[in-house]
């Protein structure tokens, strides 16, 4: 029996067809843009969760849309698409940023890390993912991928020392279910485990 997922139903069963546009490239990331004639299309090379990816993209496409619509990495969520909610938070070259306000063409050659890349090869969850589950740090879960990406940067950058520090650093990630106290608890739990690894 073939199991049809919700997303396959939504996308008419053509999900993952876009992966055909991916190709591996062995060279170092390019420093110059390689232009199509009209310059509204750009050949963009990205390293997404450690995997080299190359796509021909309209200049308007955001990194968020690349992830969701071209690579079908739908863990990163589109909330406001205006830089106000934090649901689309990812790491680019190790820095916490908003994928909705980052044009893909401007991310040429960069390393992009998303929620899908956190778990280890054996499927073991990242300490922050585990802490969110153990502390019950979400209800609907829509903001959670962005929360977790911010939470990891919060610990790594040393902003997780006190509750007010955590709250300030995490204020760019809105949670409509108001799981905020449990998110702070999860960060404090993961903080200890992340420092041991």
């Amino acid at each position: 029996v073939t199991r049809i997922t919700r997303r396959e139903a939504i996308t008419g069963g053509v999900a993952f067809a876009g992966l055909g546009t991916q190709s591996l490239f062995g060279k170092e990331p390019v420093s110059r843009q390689e232009w199509q004639d009209d310059k509204t299309t750009t050949q963009v090379k990205l390293v997404v969760n450690g995997k080299n990816t190359e796509l021909a993209l309209d200049s308007r496409v955001s990194v968020l849309d690349v992830l969701r619509d071209h690579l079908h990495l739908t863990g990163t969520k589109k909330g406001c698409d205006q830089g106000q909610c934090g649901a689309c938070t990812i790491h680019i070259d190790g820095e916490l940023v908003l994928s909705c306000l980052t044009l893909a063409a401007a991310a040429q050659g960069k390393h992009i890390d998303t929620i899908e890349g956190l778990a280890g090869g054996d499927g073991a969850l990242h300490p922050m993912q585990q802490a969110f589950i153990e502390q019950d740090a979400f209800q609907c879960g829509y903001c959670t991928p962005g929360q977790i990406m911010s939470a990891i940067a919060c610990v790594k950058e040393g902003h997780a020392n006190t509750d007010p520090d955590i709250q300030e650093y995490m204020s760019g990630n809105l949670c409509r279910c108001a799981a905020y106290p449990k998110i702070v608890a999860a960060i404090k739990q993961a903080r200890e485990r992340m420092s041991r690894t």
Binding site: S31, R32, Q33, D38, K39, T40, T42, D58, S59, R60, S62, D81, Q82, G83, G86, T89, E95, L96, V97, L98, C100, L101, T102, L103, A105, A106, Q108, S150, A153, C154, H159, Q167, E168, Y169, M170, S171, G172, N173
Partner: protein, 342 residues
């Protein structure tokens, strides 16, 4: 979003050439420079900015992101990220108000993306400017009127406004910088020049669609804050509707040099209150040579808000600004009496 040609400048000369028609802040300018993108991409998606060409400055970042703290002052490359300056230990210690204004300005994500040069040029948050369904906005469509004057103007400006525009300049960083007499280095088709930050933003003056005095193709390349003993003894107090990640409804930048109990030098600016970054020079004059206490702080605050024009929903703002400035003055004084932090 409308289609546009995306070009990446390999160096400053290329950027200036590619940016030849960036205009002076007009929403219909043919070309826009892309730095952090947090304002530009947002406003392009809202169809407020409609460039045919976007010139990416990303490749210039490494040559323009230095933070230099020296005897003559603080020099910031224009492509420094807000977070890098806000977290820099020397900036935190020697220019606390600058660090605080950047820290309070945006979320961690946006502080990592946005550049300090771009931050100076961020656009107003006026909803009638940001929402193109409103047909009256002199900033978007010159001569079309101002929907905010008779509209929902709770967080609109009360200083420096005229009958064509009451939009508020939303930035925190420029508020701190204008108090400290910051200078800008500009590179453009005509070469290099330096201007005071106070000359960057034009008054509304019946032409609010022309926002800056930049020449077409000109880039802010460096921000310089001159040395002064008041820099160490400075605070940025920001009042907003929620505790973090929100624009100011009132803010005050205060830097003091005290002689005993008396004010020798004062540098004051107001944010969340005016059409452009707002130095409160008359209020400074009130304080010079006087003991700083609640009464003299109140007198300075009264002077700072003279001439404020409100439009109904923002009637509360002058009083909030006065109280914010009084609080900031007393906090700066407390900092001074603890001795300069070392």
């Amino acid at each position: 979003m409308r289609p546009f040609a995306f070009e990446t400048a390999g160096n400053l000369t290329q950027a200036i050439r590619l940016g030849a028609d960036t205009g002076q802040g007009q929403t219909d300018a043919n070309t826009q420079f892309l730095a952090g993108g947090t304002t530009l991409v947002d406003l392009m998606r809202l169809d407020v900015l409609r460039p045919h060409r976007v010139v990416n400055l990303g490749a210039l970042r490494r040559s323009m992101d230095e933070i230099q703290v020296g005897a003559d002052g603080l020099a910031l490359g224009a492509l420094c990220r807000m977070s890098a300056v806000a977290d820099h230990p020397d900036v935190v210690k020697l220019y606390p108000m600058v660090a605080q204004s950047l820290q309070a300005a945006a979320s961690a994500q946006i502080r990592n993306m946005a550049t300090v040069g771009g931050n100076l040029l961020q656009r107003t948050r006026c909803p009638y400017f940001r929402d193109t369904r409103w047909s009256s906005c002199n900033k978007r469509i010159p001569g079309s009127g101002c929907a905010a004057i008779a509209g929902f103007n709770r967080n609109h400006a009360v200083l420096g406004v005229d009958q064509t525009c009451i939009a508020q300049y939303p930035g925190d960083f420029a508020t701190a910088l204008i108090a400290l007499d910051a200078q800008l280095e500009l590179h453009g088709p005509q070469g290099v020049r330096r201007i005071p930050l106070a000359q960057l933003h034009r008054p509304a003056d019946g032409k609010p669609h022309i926002e800056t005095t930049l020449n077409s193709g000109e880039l802010v390349t460096q921000i310089f804050v001159p040395a002064g003993e008041w820099n160490r003894c400075s605070v940025y107090v920001k009042v907003r509707d929620r505790a973090s990640y929100e624009f100011a409804i009132a803010s005050a930048a205060v830097a003091l040099a005290m002689q005993g109990d008396r004010v020798r030098e004062a540098r004051l600016a107001l944010g969340g209150m005016a059409y452009r970054p707002w130095r409160a020079a008359e209020a400074e004059a009130v304080l010079i040579g006087k003991a700083l206490n609640e009464d003299t702080a109140q007198a300075a605050a009264d002077e700072a808000l003279k001439g404020a024009q409100t439009h109904g929903y923002n009637d509360y703002k002058p009083e909030l600004a006065r109280r914010t400035l009084v609080r900031a003055l007393l906090e700066a004084k407390a900092l001074s009496s603890q001795g300069a932090p070392s």
